[in-house]
Symmetry: C2
Subunit: 211 residues, 2 copies
DNA sequence: GTCTATAACGTGATAGAC
DNA sequence: GTCTATCACGTTATAGAC
């Protein structure tokens, strides 16, 4: 009974263990600060298998990077493309989905933004990202609401900056926020739970501000 | 007249040129991705001088890091500690100051947040950061305004998350925002200029939201 | 597929001449 | 103070045995 491995662990192939360790280390430390030796040791696999399965460190990173970008984008996709929900419901869906995701993967946003800065995506991949948002049901609804005057006139990108900023930014700036606010260990997580209810109310207020 | 160096450049000592190049490269690439050889070459100085003047790459980085953290914090300090201005004016000061700063140094926030994640500051330095905010005139004003009911009741850290999120976050997420919004090259900068006037109005609306 | 051993190179740092 | 030359080591990647 001192068997530490569970069924999942036993079923994992070497390439999956390597991928999982790469995911963990790249997100925590970034590309250059993570060595192939660290990944091999952390995964319990042989160093040479990394190149056998993935070709190179760079190709392994690209795979991890794209998987995570897809996960990050998927939060937008599912919240913004349901054509049965109203604008306000989509905002609530978005906020809850991202706070769920980032509670489990708090390093995800900083990893994505850092990686995008040094390693900008090719146009083809950007186009995917663009369609997820600009061609979403959300965008259609938003622009229609502006036009019929039910919300104030404001370019949708300002709206997105506010929504994503209020939801995602705290996870990026967490150490600084905890320092300047002298927050106790659990306080940050509690505040993010409070923000599930707060952000939608704030966003609605912003949509009605007279500019 | 084909002399490219100006007076400033001529007056710079070797240690200053190294520091300046380190500043440039560390902010763009981060600690591990920047080599001492890159810094030496970029500065036009000899590689050995880096260790002669700064002891090690790590000590050079610590110096750059603390200078930049001080610059970043100073934006908060000056905006929040003038005891002659009202709450709303302090918000406007804060927004303008950070948009000015980050227009010149767009990589600063990502550098700070990445560095703080992997290299958390010691308590003594955090205490400095804490006092800058928690003991500021702004905090006193805010808490008084909550108490007398002139703004809605909300822990000040939620307020800060919103203010800093709306102002600083776009610079962190810029590549992603440009991709999802399909923004033309100059559009981002124009939007940030628009936000100088928008954010204070939004913040005031948030302060009056009934929760 | 998996391993050991090693190649080929880049890194931070320093000894020692000037 | 400034330079060249070099050390000692860690890095990614691969050849070749099993």
């Amino acid at each position: 009974m001192n068997q530490a491995l569970n069924v999942d662990e036993l079923l994992l192939r070497p390439q999956d263990r390597i991928r999982r360790s790469a995911q963990h280390l790249f997100l925590k430390q970034g590309y250059t600060a993570t060595t192939t030796r660290q990944i091999a040791e952390h995964s319990g696999e042989n160093l040479a298998l990394l190149n056998y399965y993935f070709g190179s460190k760079e190709r392994l990173f690209a795979q991890i990077m794209m998987e995570n970008l897809a996960v990050f984008m998927d939060g937008m996709k599912t919240a913004f493309n349901d054509d049965k929900t109203a604008l306000e419901e989509k905002v609530t869906l978005f906020v809850n989905r991202y706070i769920d995701l980032l509670a489990l993967q708090p390093d995800l946003p900083l990893f994505i933004f850092s990686s995008l800065r040094t390693n900008p995506l090719k146009l083809s991949q950007k186009v995917g990202a663009r369609d997820v948002f600009l061609k979403s049901h959300f965008t259609t609804q938003y622009n229609a609401a502006v036009k019929d005057g039910s919300i104030s006139e404001l370019p949708i990108m300002h709206f997105v900056m506010n929504l994503v900023g209020m939801t995602v930014f705290p996870f990026v700036a967490r150490p600084m926020l905890e320092a300047v606010g002298n927050l106790a260990p659990n306080t940050f997580d509690k505040m993010m739970q409070e923000r599930r209810a707060l952000i939608p109310v704030w966003i609605e207020a912003l949509m009605n501000v007279q500019l």
